[in-house]
């Protein structure tokens, strides 16, 4: 296997959007999503280029289960929904279809699995995870039972790549260099411990900090 095998991959799924953001809906979106990233503080909220506001709320709720907010910031604080929205009218035009078809399917699953819940973003985190898990392809094992509510929906054709697309976009939007439209305030890099510098100097890590410099094996043998 060559070096690029593992990488040349994954980011190509293929799927859709439109709907301009109406500034008047901004406060409504905020309250619905109860999120508090920087954009909320901005005098002029960023415009959505692809999602309708109510769609953005649902997508953001999905991203917040993929990389949840706990003691540290998650996809919400990283502004991932804005990265995805912009991506769908730029590098990810091919992925518009996944969202166009996937969001109604998501709503259908909410209604089937939890009839009393109005929409995904209104479900509890546990319910949300169960709904998202219904999109995943995995065999039923003793450790991982298929929940009764998932049985009728999990094999339904047509929306298989929706959750996978959102998953990939969320990871990209969380971990991309903050200069390129995601990973707001570098929260993704802070999480993984990547310093946001352009120039680094040796020593780099724990194991090279006391390296004495190159010595040939013969010289080392002499010492002992």
């Amino acid at each position: 296997m060559n070096e690029l095998n593992r990488r040349s991959f994954l980011l190509r799924t293929g799927t859709g959007f439109s709907a301009a953001w109406i500034a008047a809906n901004w406060p409504a979106l905020l309250s619905a999503a109860t999120h508090g990233h920087d954009a909320a503080k901005a005098a002029t909220p960023p415009k959505f280029e692809f999602f309708a506001p109510e769609e953005a709320v649902e997508v953001e709720a999905i991203t917040a289960r993929i990389i949840p907010t706990d003691e540290t910031p998650g996809a919400r604080e990283a502004g991932v929904v804005y990265f995805i929205d912009h991506g769908l009218v730029t590098f990810g035009v091919d992925d518009q279809k996944a969202y166009r078809e996937g969001l109604p399917e998501l709503q259908a699953r909410v209604k089937e699995m939890f009839p009393s819940v109005a929409k995904f973003s209104a479900a509890t985190p546990e319910q949300q995870d169960e709904i998202l898990d219904s999109f995943e392809e995995h065999a039923e094992t003793p450790q991982k039972a298929i929940k009764p509510a998932q049985r009728s929906v999990r094999r339904r054709p047509g929306a298989q790549n929706f959750f996978e697309t959102v998953r990939q976009h969320t990871i990209v939007g969380f971990l991309i260099d903050p200069d390129y439209g995601g990973n707001r305030d570098g929260v993704g890099w802070k999480l993984i411990g990547r310093e946001r510098e352009h120039v680094f100097q040796s020593p780099f890590g724990y194991y090279d900090k006391d390296y004495p410099g190159w010595q040939s094996a013969a010289k080392e043998a002499d010492k002992t």
Binding site: G188, G193, A217
Partner: protein, 554 residues
């Protein structure tokens, strides 16, 4: 972006037209223009420079900014010639001025003596079309030295007891060691092996107007923003431009070599950016389009006189493709390595370069290197241990814990030449210009898979000796995708069994030369670019000598 470049008319019969500006094409452009010849380089990709290179992973992973484009240039894949090939991505190569040398990892270790004479030494191997080279390591040694000094390689001469003889030390000391390298070095020595500082085509010191490496961490897959990576773009093309005799013509997609009634090449036919067709006339043509596109161009150039494709009287154009075997074993450690800082590989070992087939039960050999070549995003998709949840709280926790505590041992090894393994023209699928797409046929020789698993076992021993908290790998699987594109127009003395002679001249067309990964007769042990560049320096000397003797009328 360029200095005093001449603008030749397509009707000007220049001395050489070079197809491709990568590892080989860049060096041939530099050498031939320096030797006084008028040269046009036709490059299918754009002319990008340091100002265009970024750390934007989207451009690299999703938009193929520096590489061949799977939508415009689709490919098909199959395992054996009796199958119908299916559309699937078969390869990645650089598609910009500088070619693959712009985005590569820059591992620059020389081939050893054995690589050129292995068939004589070990005898025939069932199922392999295994032959010696028409040249030896000694023939190429001066040119390896040229690569190190003129293109720029950092390393430490004499550090590996397995290294072949050399005439000169490296021009620069090795780059600073990484935590992955220290872990690798200490554990390998415990096992009695001989790790050494990895020779890299990356500057450890400022040189020739270029910056030393700043350890930014976006190396494999990315163009270097400071010019420290010794690509053809910064180390060769700019020298060619300064001669005032070399024109680099980007966005020029060559799709046919034109020949006259005497069977001589007259120039290269290409699409410009607007898809208008031109013929650049030249006294001689040098194709350096890589191990996939070079045979494709010869096959696309078939005409009445050359019905099987240009320079293909042997019928082996495109065949005997080799990808290099191997793969990755990944390990984790207790403390942060911060291996995202810096370039990819800081230590390597070649104790297993020559293995005794009688003892191990297969033909081949290889090496191990210590590396971390993930970016934050590629790590999230490919660097976490098997069984890690793909999303949610535990996925997030794994990212936080593992990104800085992970390293890889990359196992690099031989691929045996197998005649059926090939690039050919797909009979149905077309590219965006309406030309037949590349079709890959590839099934690893069984010995290559055995070698892969053998090397994985050594890498696992190394991780155990190093005290890794966790380690994992997958059995060597059959390759259906390549980035090392080798052997498809092999060099040889017999016109019936090779495409070019030892001067890189095609046996069939006297003023047509080929030089790139396709020229290789064996695969080495992985990391072929330095050898491709040494061949290019040597080819330039041979071609210049032929021209001076009046043998190619330039």
């Amino acid at each position: 972006m360029t200095v005093d470049q001449p603008k030749y008319k397509t009707s000007d019969e220049v001395d050489f037209v070079i197809v491709g500006s990568g590892a080989a094409g860049g060096i041939l452009a530099k050498e031939l223009s320096t030797n006084g010849f008028r040269v046009v380089v036709l490059e299918q990709g754009p002319y990008l420079t340091e100002a265009d290179f970024t750390h934007n992973e989207i451009e690299i992973l999703a938009l193929d900014k520096l590489t061949n484009h799977p939508k415009l240039q689709p490919t098909t894949v199959r395992k054996t010639p009796d199958e119908k090939a299916k559309p699937q991505r078969a390869l990645v190569y650089g598609r910009c001025v500088g070619g693959t040398s712009v985005h590569f990892t820059a591992n620059f270790w020389r081939f050893h003596e054995i690589d050129f004479i292995e068939r004589s030494k070990v005898g025939p191997v069932t199922g392999a079309n295994f032959v010696d080279w028409p040249i030896t390591y000694a023939d190429l040694e001066p040119y390896y030295t040229k690569v190190e000094w003129e293109i720029g390689v950092s390393g430490l001469a004499g550090a590996s007891p397995f290294d072949p003889p050399r005439s000169k030390p490296y021009p620069m000391p090795p780059l600073p060691v990484k935590s992955s390298g220290v872990i690798f070095e200490r554990a390998a020595r415990k096992l009695g092996w001989h790790p050494y500082p990895a020779p890299m085509a990356i500057l450890s010191q400022a040189r020739a107007g270029r910056s030393a490496c700043v350890n930014c961490g976006f190396c494999l897959g990315f163009g270097c923003e400071v010019g420290a990576k010794s690509s053809s773009l910064v180390a060769a093309i700019r020298v060619a431009e300064r001669t005032g005799r070399c024109e680099i013509r980007p966005n020029s997609y060559v799709h046919r070599i034109e020949t006259d009634a005497n069977g001589r090449a007259t120039g290269a036919v290409y699409f410009d950016e607007k898809r208008n067709t031109h013929l650049q006339k030249a006294k001689a043509v040098v194709v350096c389009a890589n191990g996939a596109e070079t045979p494709r161009l010869l096959l696309l150039s078939a005409n009445k006189q050359f019905p099987n494709g240009l320079a293909n009287s042997s019928g082996i154009v495109g065949k005997n493709l080799m990808f290099n075997s191997g793969g990755v074993v990944t390990g984790q450690f207790e403390h942060p390595l911060n291996d995202y800082k810096g370039y990819a590989v800081s230590r390597v070992l070649h104790d297993f370069y020559e293995l005794d087939p009688q003892k191990v039960g297969f033909c081949g050999g290889g090496g191990l290197d210590a590396r971390f070549d993930f970016t934050p995003i590629s790590f999230a998709f490919g660097g976490l241990p098997p069984g890690t949840p793909r999303w949610g709280k535990d996925f997030k926790a794994a990212l936080a814990q593992d990104f800085n505590r992970t390293m890889e041992i990359f196992c690099h090894g031989t691929s045996l030449p197998v005649e059926n393994n090939s690039f050919s023209l797909d009979p149905d699928l077309k590219d965006a210009w309406g030309l037949p797409a590349l079709r890959l046929t590839y099934k690893d020789h069984p010995d290559d898979l055995k070698l892969g698993n053998w090397l994985f076992a050594r890498a696992n021993e190394l991780f155990d000796a190093a005290g890794a908290t966790k380690k994992w790998s997958f059995p060597a699987g059959e390759q259906q995708f390549g980035v090392h594109l080798l052997g498809t127009c092999r060099m040889g003395n017999d016109a019936k069994t090779s495409v070019i002679n030892a001067d890189h001249r095609t046996h069939d067309v006297k003023n047509l030369f080929l030089c790139d990964g396709s020229s290789l007769v064996t695969s080495g042990r992985g990391q072929p670019t330095m050898t491709i560049e040494a061949l290019a320096f040597r080819a330039a000397d041979r071609i210049t000598a032929l021209a001076k003797r009046g043998e190619i009328s330039v």
